[in-house]
Amino acid sequence: MDVRSQISMVFHLDKCIGCHTCSIACKNIWTDRKGAEYMWWNNVETKPGTGYPGKWEDQDIYKGGWQKNGDGIELKGAGKPRSLTNIFHNPHMPVIDDYYEPFTYKYLDLIESPAGDDQPTARPISMITGEPMDIKMGPNWDDDLSGSPDYARNDPNLKNLSPAEQQAMFEMERLAFFYLPRICNHCLNPACIAACPSGAIYKRGEDGIVLINQDVCRGWRMCVTACPYKKTYYNWSTGKSEKCILCYPRIESGQAPACMHSCVGRIRYLGVMLYDADQIERVAAADEPDIVARQMDMILDPFDPDVIAAAKANGVADSTIDSAQKSPTYKFVKEWDLALPLHPEFRTLPMLFYVPPLLPVMASVTNVDNSEQAEKLNDISKYWPDNWLYDTSTRELFGTIDDARFPLEYMASLFSAGDTESVADRLKKLMAVRLHRRHVTVGDVDEDTVAAALSNTDLNGQLADDIYYLTSLAKFDDRFVIPPAHREQAIEMMEFTGDAKGSTGFGFKVGTAVRGA
């Protein structure tokens, strides 16, 4: 047992309102500079939709991630022989139009234009060429199902659905969507690291953050092809690749990453999980339906004395083990079995988990005579003389999982490599918690229904309350349990800190600056 610690994340999709605050927080800190204008280390996608870059989930196009090769795995589009033969021409890379051409507007024209017959306009300007351009695309162009026939309809996750099911999803009355915020998954089996010909990418031993060393990167861009989530980006100005660094300078000083700190819906959780690194190879090569369950098995119980002993033997700090025991991600992922990794079939063992969205919002417009109401309106008010109706509600308050607005196959394609059962299990738990809380706070759900829902999902009232607390009431320190980084120990491994003692601070004889000289 090779116990290591990993800072992992959980995003609770039921709480995401798609406001892009996370993206902006990240942009302002990290990618608001030359060569990085098009990068969104954090982006929020509408599902169904093709995302950013377009159709990133379709590995027939981008050849990202791993694929099974006999008993083992190999990189789908990179790896030694392919990298060597394609080193000067990487044939499956996204082009700038797959992301979008970054633009701004020539705002100064609005106030500096000479007087004329027409209003001045702020023309869009390319942030790459500096020339006026036609905006073709944006990083969230298909937000809220805009351009559905082109984007949502081409969601790669729809391929397992029958044409009838797809048709049902896009009926006007049933149309639904949810948001999928994405950052680097800081995978346990990262394809980007395996693909890098320069050895510039590494996974930090102490917390598993995946980083690109800018001094070593030579810009071969094999990581761009290899990452199935398309979360490494090539900076055209520096000629090197970059990616989400999980705000490690913030984490090292005990602060939550910018995207998580700024999250309006408080959907993000961050904490340490201990895992068994000996199993990585076997789990990554598991058969597709088993991958999720095997990945969950890899994650170790931080209260198990054997695990603690092995972790200590491996140099994991006591404070890290303590953090792992308080980790909200461990609770969501392992203890409560509520969260799932995104696209586990890419076999990178992502350590960002998603609580799948329940989407219970139902609408019911019944056939009522509203002529009386119409009488009260004045003449210019708009009113509908027909009493057309639709009904997406269900017999019971929340309905059943099988009535969910999104087919389970769609969710399974996103979160469980096609295994609908594991998605249904999680959704049922979410539903049971809601029924329980509805029973406690409103009381219009009868006790038998609640008891049945809880026992069906191996939950009890106390567990359901715990889940409810961490979901809805959790404070900052509940959501982010950040282990001390112990930088003081790290630096002592490389240099003798006594050398610097007494050489900074007060008590030095240096010349006094001459004022006004």
């Binding site: 870059p53 377009g54 379709d58 021409h89 499956h92 139009d97 073709k136």
Partner: protein, 282 residues
């Protein structure tokens, strides 16, 4: 800062004195000799011996001083302007004198040196060995010329700039004179002088601090003499249009090969069909 100023004045004063009162006369003479040895001596002597150009003993008696100065400074302009004496000399000596960018002060100091040195002091840096050239020398020279053997001083290989028509030598550069007939044009002393002590600015720059040894000069001269003597026997293949055609066909084959190897490549943005439908402002 204030403390430093005093020290600086102490340093500057002696320098100012040195600049203001130089031993002008002595220095000018030394400069003239230095210049003559480094630039003129490749082609000229201060006695009556003819090298590449005429021997210069008594030249100030034969020609007008102003004319001599303009020849030293801008010989190319003189020839271009149709000066009769300059053109007659060119017809006689075949090699035009290069414009070395000499300033008027330098030209005068060189001329003064020639006048002083005439007859009495013979400046002739080229020492011809009487030994007949050997086969080894020719081969060594060939190796040096095309860079199979590096020059000891680390200077650039001859055929980077020069070409010699010879079956045994690969084609050279066209940046400088073609050297097949250089031996009959300049003769052994001229060729030796130019290699050992190049008068041309670019060649000087290229071999600055990278001197060619005596042995190497001998070998190169031997090779050039042989190349000149045997030029009639050598007929290097002229590829002409065939080389171009072969290159064109070769690149076609490579392009076809590449398009087969990378036939599964991603050709355009996944949203290209959407973009092509979009309305453009231009």
């Amino acid at each position: 800062m204030r403390g430093a100023t005093g020290r600086q004045i102490g340093l500057v004063l002696p320098i100012l004195f040195a600049v203001a009162f130089p031993s002008t006369l002595v220095e000018a003479q030394a400069m003239g000799e230095e210049l003559f040895r480094s630039t003129c001596a490749a082609c000229h002597t201060t006695n009556t011996d003819r090298l590449v150009g005429p021997g210069l003993e008594g030249v100030e008696d034969r020609r007008d001083r102003e004319w001599l100065l303009s020849v030293i400074m801008e010989p190319d302009r003189l020839i271009a302007e149709g000066d009769t004496i300059a053109n007659r000399l060119l017809a006689e000596y075949l090699v035009p004198m290069p414009n070395l960018g000499t300033t008027r002060a330098q030209a005068e100091s060189v001329l003064d040196f020639i006048t002083d040195a005439s007859g009495a002091l013979s400046v002739n840096t080229t020492v011809l060995s009487d030994a007949p050239i050997t086969e080894d020398q020719v081969f060594f020279g060939m190796a040096l010329f095309q860079g199979n053997t590096r020059l000891v001083g680390g200077g650039p290989t001859c055929n980077g700039c020069h070409e010699v028509i010879n079956d045994a030598v690969i084609g050279g550069g066209i940046l400088a004179r073609e050297l097949t007939t250089v031996f009959s044009r300049l003769g052994a002393p001229g060729v030796r002088a130019i290699i050992a002590n190049p008068p041309f600015p670019i060649m000087q720059q290229a071999y600055r601090d990278k001197p060619i040894t005596e042995e190497e000069v001998d070998a190169l001269v031997a090779f050039l003499e042989r190349a000149d003597a045997e030029q009639g026997l050598h007929r290097p293949r002229a590829y002409g249009i065939k080389l171009f055609t072969a290159g064109l066909v070769g690149s076609m084959i490579l392009l076809v090969l590449y398009s087969v190897i990378w036939s599964g490549r991603k050709r355009a943005s996944v949203n290209q069909d959407i973009f092509s439908r979009q309305v453009r402002s231009t």
